[in-house]
Symmetry: C2
Subunit: 392 residues, 2 copies
């Protein structure tokens, strides 16, 4: 029996539309064949979310063929056949002998394929940020007739504008993020271990709501006093105390698509300083969302936030957010002063207003939103509060 | 107020011992300064486990200085000051302007530092597998007088032999993995959603046991019928059914150190074929452990497994395991026929006997073990069973 296809996340037409956009960009850059290695880009072009990217893998897109061909280690072939929209015959499981082999790896199998197909003498695109220097060198050495070029963030930019089908998944993911945040309000109290709270919050994220569980874990950070000025600590072995501040960052995930959410909690009354930061940040958040509309640029959104926060006596050094979609951050548009990316309907951003002001003051709040025809739609339904928890 | 140091996972002497070993290897390779970018290697040399590796970061080890210097984005500086054993003044938070900047990134801050310190004209080591081709090129271009060389898996090999302090953490992590696996036995039943079971198992992994919670999430794969021939699917939206097979891979984590564990479950009686695979695999597992002792080589362990499994009528194409420690796999020794790595006391391996035999037959079992003075110590206390669950 061969591995059955699983339920497909998107119709075939959706994947073909995405591939057409990538192929158009390949033509523009005079690239005949492109090896996609970014796991998020592979998800985008095929529906594959299995976690095989810790060893070489590549989705090979050719201008001469409608469907791409996927190379992965032999043991991961069945998952690709199950999840990907492409014909299962296009999933090539390369031999296990290429794993932990000092002389050859899975990319050699891709290069052999490119030679066999006669693709090794044209422009060959790689995603140089997603392969090692050694791999780029191998492509150049083993395909001396090819013009090996970096495709850069070409696919990431195409991913920037979502279809309504993608937006629907991001709304579902956001509902799961909300569920995790609401669970946090129930389980954080003095004397509770950070790890126990994390366990409960993560479980709520995974279970999700509305019969749509999260399909993966995602970035999860619980930075509590005395670590509330840190940004990316999972959690610690400590317990919460009366007066503790907790900065929480969570994501819901649906078939790769992530909606991120940050909120700050205080056990008992927050300090006046924290309250003032919160008021300035929420005012800034609302000012930022107010300028979102098609035709505005990313820099406008950041400028509105920064100007408002400044009026409240604070400043934020890091950017105000970034494009978000599959696997969280898209390395393209930033909500940052000077970013001239023009907003278009169904672009999605994490308006990430986490602000690590000093070594003893950090605060987080965020919204994941899409650009609508006239403004912004935020996906979370949670109030923009500094959550004050009962000191039980 | 400045960020306080958190409780340190290891004493200073332990970190200095590790650094000495790295510096000796640097001397051997005539490298005066080394930029460590592998997140696991940074953890090893400093205690840092915060998740800032999604943007450029580097721990700079110099032969001229006792402690290394860490470069991370500004917002991640406080976490490094809190977690790392080094003087907080050696944590350099590079400006947020370098994030999402098309012209410069955090590695430019490292290169500036190397120039300022006069380190830019000697041998400079990089971990080429853990930086992009673009970054290697940047180092060569911006430091024309330096000899930029790949340090390869130099630090990974040093990590291979654990101290007793590290082994203690791996035992704690294993107890947490066991707790997750035991929770699986309780929550997997016909009609339950895979996601709900995953939520419960992950929560048990995080809570841990003996007052030692897991400090991070790790690889988690729940591959259930009809996906039991896949290896790395998180979980699906499906429900378990009477007769379902479930292949589960989990890890407990203590301060970066991971103990991995795999077991196969069957709701109701397993098929005769699955039972036969299980018997062959357990016999092979025991044969493999029986040859573990100092002086044996990795290939011996794999050969013992393979020969035994063959007698039972099956074969496994992928290697039988790999060195394990911080962040799961260490890219060094493999339990694979032909691997001549000599076993030494306190080397640790994941004897990973997951066997994806065909598109309709996968089975998993594993043990994380250390080499003792005379044999092997497995960390898990779970029986090596094919767990048969009641069809409720």
């Amino acid at each position: 029996m061969s591995m059955p296809k699983g339920p497909q996340v998107f119709p075939r037409t959706e994947y073909l539309r995405r591939l057409s956009a990538v192929k158009a960009e390949m033509k523009r850059r005079e690239i005949g064949v492109l090896m996609v290695t970014s796991p998020a880009n592979i998800t985008y072009l095929s529906g594959y979310t299995s976690k095989s990217g810790y060893v070489p893998q590549g989705l090979v897109v050719s201008l001469k063929e409608e469907e791409p061909t996927f190379f992965t280690r032999h043991m991961d072939g069945p998952a690709a056949m199950h999840q990907m929209f492409i014909d299962s015959g296009r999933v090539i499981g390369y031999p296990e002998e290429l794993i932990a082999n000092p002389d050859m790896d899975g990319f050699d199998a891709v290069i052999d394929f490119l030679h066999d197909k006669g693709f090794a003498s044209s422009g060959v695109g790689l995603e140089a940020k997603f392969v090692s220097a050694q791999t780029v060198e191998k492509f150049k050495t083993r395909m001396p007739k090819a013009r090996v070029v970096d495709f850069g963030a070409g696919i990431h930019w195409i991913r920037g504008i979502k279809s309504d089908l993608e937006i629907a998944l991001m709304r579902e993911a956001a509902a799961n993020a909300d569920a995790g945040m609401m669970r946090a309000k129930e389980v954080i109290h003095p004397g509770a271990r950070e790890a126990d709270a994390a366990a409960e919050i993560i479980a709520a994220l995974v279970r999700g709501v509305n019969g749509k569980p999260s399909t993966d874990l995602s970035g999860f950070y619980l930075c509590a006093s005395p670590r509330s000025a840190t940004a990316h600590i999972r959690w610690s072995e400590d317990v919460f105390r009366q007066g503790s501040q907790i900065n929480l960052e969570v994501g819901g995930v649906r078939h790769g698509y992530t909606s991120a959410l940050m909120r700050t909690f205080s056990i008992g009354k927050p300090s006046d300083q924290l309250r003032r930061v919160h008021e300035g940040e929420v005012a800034g958040l609302e000012a930022a969302l107010a300028v979102v509309k098609p035709g505005a640029v990313c820099g406008d959104v950041a400028a509105a936030f920064n100007a408002t926060l400044k009026k409240h006596g604070f400043e934020k050094k890091s950017r105000c957010g970034y494009a978000i979609g599959i696997d969280w951050t898209e390395p393209t548009a930033s909500l940052k002063e000077g970013d001239r990316t023009v907003l278009k309907p169904n672009m999605t951003f994490h308006l990430m207003l986490g602000n690590w002001i000093d070594q003893d003051l950090g605060y987080v709040i965020s919204e994941t939103f899409r650009v609508t025809d006239t403004g912004a739609e935020t996906f979370s339904k949670l109030p923009r509060e500094l959550f004050e928890l009962d000191p039980i």
